[in-house]
Amino acid sequence: MNWDWTVIWENIPKLMDGALLTLELVFFSGLIGVLLAVPLGLLRVSDNIWVRAFPYAYIFFFRGTPLLIQIFLVYYGASQFEWVKESSLWPILREPYWCAVITFGLHTAAYIAELLRGAIQSIPRGEIEAAKALGMSYPKMLQRITLPRAFGIMMPSYGNEVILMLKGSALASTITLLDLTGMARTIIARTYTPLEIFLAAGVMYLMISALIIFIFRLLERYFNRHQHWPNEKPKGLDSQLLSKD
C-alpha cells in the first residue's frame, strides 16, 4: 500500500466546494430547526396533556428513527402521492438540496425542542414569578425572561447538537448532493484512493467542528453575559446603573 499525497493536494479545491455546501446545509437547517423548535419546546412544557401530545409525538418520531430514513421519506417518499406532484410545492420537493434542508431542519428541531424543554424547566422559578409579579404579559415574559435565559442555559448542549447535525449532513450525499462526503465519494470513484481522500475529508470535518465550537464559545459568553458582570459591562446600559460602584 502506498500513500499518495499529491492526490490530496490536487483535490483540495473540490473538497472545499463540498465543505461549503455542507456548511450551507448546516446553517439553513439550523435556522429552520431553531424557528420550529421554539414553538415546539414551548408547547412541550405546557401543563395541558393535549397540548403536550403533538410535540411529544413529533420529538418521539424524529429522535427514534434514523436520519437516513427521514431523508428518504422526504426525497423519495413525497413522489408517491400524485397530489404532492401536482401541488405548488413540487418544484421545491423535487430538488435534493431543499429536501436535505427540510429534513435536517425537521430532524434537528426535534432535538433542539427537547433541549429547550430542559432549559425552560431549569430556569429558576423565582425569575418567572418575578416577571409575573411585575405584570408582564406572557409574550413579554417569553421575550424578556424565558427565551433569553433558556438560550443561555442550553447554549453548550446546542453547540453539541450543531456538531451532530454537521456529522448528519454527510447523509446528503446519499441523495446525490455533492457535499463534503459526496464530493469525496465522486473523487474516489475516479482516482480510487479511498483512504487518502476520506481521511482528508475527515480532517476537514474536524476543522469545521473546531470552528463551530469556537463560535459557540462566543455565543455562550454573549447569552450568559450577566455572569461575567461586572468585569465586562454590558453596552447600552442606563448610566445611573453604571455609576453605582
Binding site: M1, T65, P66, I69, L73, K167, L171, P194, F198
Partner: protein, 230 residues
C-alpha cells in the same frame, strides 16, 4: 398499511439490524473501556492515543467512517498481508465493515462516558484494594468495573440508542439490513413512502423496546441505592 407481501423481508432486515447493533455494542464497549483506560493512564503516549482517538472519531461523520472502513480497510489489510507474502485480494464483508465502523464510533463516545465514570469512584476504594493485596486486574474486576457499570449505564444507554439508528448507515455499503430491505421493496412496488414509513415504525419499535430494557437495567444496577434515598 399494505405491505404487499414484503413484510417478511422487513422482518429479516430487522433481525440483521439487531445483530449488527448487538455485535457493535459488544465490540464498542471493549473499545470504550480500552480508550478510557488509556485516557486515565499515567503514560503520556497512551493518553495522547486516547485523546487522538476520541477527537478524530467524534469529529468525523459516521457515514464517512463506514465508507472509509469498507473501502479503505481492504487496502490496509492487503498491504499488511503482502508483507507476509500473501498477495491475494482481500475484501471485508459489509457486516464486518459495519461492525468495525460502528464499534469504533460507539467506542469513542463510550470512552468519554467511562472516563467520567472512572473518575467518580473514590480513590480510597482503590487504595483499600491495593492494601488488601489485590493485583491491578483484580482491583479492576472486583472494585472498579461493577461500579463504573452503574454510573455509566445512563450514558451508555443513550449511546446504544444512537448506535441502533446508525446501523441504517450500513445499508449504504450494501448490507441487507432493515433500511436496505425497505429500499429493495420500494424497487419492486414503487411505493417509497409506505415502505420507508414501515421501516421507520420498526425502528421506533426497536428503540422503544431498548428504552424499556434500559429502564429495567438501570433499576437493577441501582438496586442497592433505592432504599436510602426515599
Amino acid at each position: 398499511m399494505d405491505l404487499q407481501g414484503f413484510g417478511h423481508l422487513l422482518i429479516s432486515g430487522a433481525w440483521v439490524t439487531l445483530q449488527l447493533a448487538l455485535c457493535s455494542l459488544a465490540v464498542g464497549l471493549i473499545f470504550g473501556l480500552l480508550g478510557a483506560s488509556a485516557k486515565v493512564s499515567s503514560s503520556r503516549i497512551l493518553r495522547a492515543i486516547g485523546n487522538g482517538y476520541t477527537l478524530f472519531v467524534r469529529g468525523m461523520p459516521e457515514l464517512l467512517l463506514v465508507l472509509t472502513i469498507f473501502f479503505g480497510a481492504s487496502a490496509v489489510l492487503m498491504g499488511i498481508a503482502s508483507q507476509f507474502g500473501y498477495d491475494e485480494y482481500i475484501e471485508l464483508s459489509p457486516f464486518v465493515a459495519g461492525v468495525t465502523a460502528l464499534s469504533i464510533a460507539f467506542g469513542a463516545y463510550a470512552t468519554e462516558v467511562f472516563r467520567s465514570a472512572l473518575q467518580e469512584i473514590p480513590k480510597g476504594q482503590k487504595e483499600a484494594a491495593v492494601a488488601l493485596g489485590m493485583t491491578q486486574f483484580q482491583t479492576f474486576k472486583r472494585v472498579t468495573l461493577p461500579q463504573v457499570w452503574r454510573i455509566a449505564l445512563p450514558g451508555l444507554g443513550n449511546l446504544f440508542l444512537v448506535l441502533l439508528k446508525d446501523t441504517a448507515l450500513v445499508s449504504v455499503i450494501g448490507l441487507n439490513e432493515l433500511m436496505r430491505q425497505a429500499a429493495v421493496a420500494v424497487g419492486y412496488t414503487k411505493e417509497p413512502f409506505t415502505f420507508y414509513l414501515a421501516a421507520a415504525c420498526v425502528y421506533l419499535l426497536l428503540t422503544s423496546i431498548s428504552m424499556a430494557g434500559l429502564y429495567y437495567l438501570e433499576r437493577f444496577a441501582n438496586r442497592g441505592y433505592q432504599g436510602a434515598r426515599s
